[in-house]
Symmetry: C2
Amino acid sequence: MRACRREPVPYTPVWLMRQAGRYMREYREVREKTTFLELCKNPGLAAEVTVTAVERLGVDAAIIFADILLILEPLGLRLEFSKGDGPVIHNPVRSGVDVERLRELEDPAALDFVFEAIKHTRQALPGNLPLIGFSGAPFTLASYAIEGGHSNTFAKTKALMYGHPEAWHRLCEKLSSVVSNYLVAQIEAGVDAVQVFDSWVGVLSAADYREFALPHTRPLFDAVKKRVPTIHFGTGTAAILEELREAGGDVIGVDWRIPIDEAWTRIGADRGVQGNLDPTLLLGPPARMLQQTDSVLARIGNRPGHIFNLGHGILPSTPVEHVQMLAQYVHSASRRH
Amino acid sequence: MRACRREPVPYTPVWLMRQAGRYMREYREVREKTTFLELCKNPGLAAEVTVTAVERLGVDAAIIFADILLILEPLGLRLEFSKGDGPVIHNPVRSGVDVERLRELEDPAALDFVFEAIKHTRQALPGNLPLIGFSGAPFTLASYAIEGGHSNTFAKTKALMYGHPEAWHRLCEKLSSVVSNYLVAQIEAGVDAVQVFDSWVGVLSAADYREFALPHTRPLFDAVKKRVPTIHFGTGTAAILEELREAGGDVIGVDWRIPIDEAWTRIGADRGVQGNLDPTLLLGPPARMLQQTDSVLARIGNRPGHIFNLGHGILPSTPVEHVQMLAQYVHSASRRH
């Protein structure tokens, strides 16, 4: 929390995206008994995997176990997580008519399981350990809603964006409004900070970001920024760091493609930074992972406002021992820097 | 050719990556009778689709119809292009032992069909129309060889790179040597320029690019640079433009994520640039496509050394009329700029 506010800290805090996930035996054991979506909707189990990850790794924050796409279901999109293939939306948005058909999240209880999981987790966590809530940003959520799953080209997304900008903006306005309420409700349920995942926004140029994404992302930060610290995450964003900053976030996420000190200079001293180790380094060998960790910490020096994290989520094939080693190393090495 | 040498031209030359491809009826008709791999290996048909694309579009260069992965087959990798799923390599490289098992391309005739296609095409094209040869760069070729197909995370590629750097470098040295010979043979068969595709190299940081990619890409350019102009292409390269330049290329490709004038400033005035329209703009509407085309041309002004192209290949769902309109517009609008 102090790092979010750019206050001095005795050591660099660290948490890792997808720290509760398939790479961890305890998580796989829970998942043997339930599907991914069922796990998300079971507050007791969601809290359990959230807390277990923190305890096993010794990290400095928990992030509530959930998925950015959960919010699409109560809007009327039929979501499925198929084995190995990732998320599938069976009735994707392809036109202005589809956009108008989306429901307005009339029943605020539709996502109660997330708020319940937050309450369970908050009770189970030590009082000094922050719990992070999160949501997708409108661009990334819209891309899943339109593509019907993951995409390499974002062709359908951009075809709607460029070809039917009024439908695009209407879709993103809806998402922005729903996500704002969702984040506020997470805060009321007890999260201490929120992260907005605009995971795929790096496929936009700065001009397109300003036209198609920024107007819908900024209201999220405006809605929550006075309540809790906010983190704004994306990947492949080397060409749009200034625009991400402008959209909002007390802390801006930086992936491994750009040195974190150069990124911070562009982002500006009035914001914190989070990142930026390549998650593939955790596959091994540990020596290289720790050497690169040192490099990230050395680039930051003792400037307050850095949260150590990966540039993207932990990969499923990552050895848990490497993740534990990394967390310990960030603590010990940052005391030296 | 003059643009490659940064000499003044009456209008901006244009060609488009994957200009012979599924979006074009004539191409689909040829493909109905043959698989993708059979088409690549049939010099008559490969020349036909190459030439047809140029004639239909009115572009200023042909690029030989082939695939960057063809070179992997004579090394002993079993390559297949499965319907809809893209390339599959049935015996991917996963270890140093696998690397040593790769053959040294003992039979230089293994890729004769490419050189034959080049000769056929060169004869069929008007004399003033350049024919571009190409190959993958070692990093991108290695990533396919290791992943066994396309990847979103490049986890296996980087696991080998970080975990077994000696095997990585040995693999890339082999690829670099084979590709150098392959490009030289294409030049001897009659191509007027060559493009090196390092399509996925944007997943590397600048430091990793210098350590793992640059030493193997530079020899390609050294091998051919005195013979014909060279183009160095990648996507998502906003963080490594300076490094791409250093690796080589008379012309550096720039995708849509970064304004082409800013990219050119970083690349340097002693190189040309190629790009940088987002291929999704060709899906429509034409007005926006042309407006963005104007924006690219305006950013360049009348500075010689720009080849207009997309930031990546033409998408299969692109209307051919839009591509024709784009080529005509680049010619007419650049005469005005």
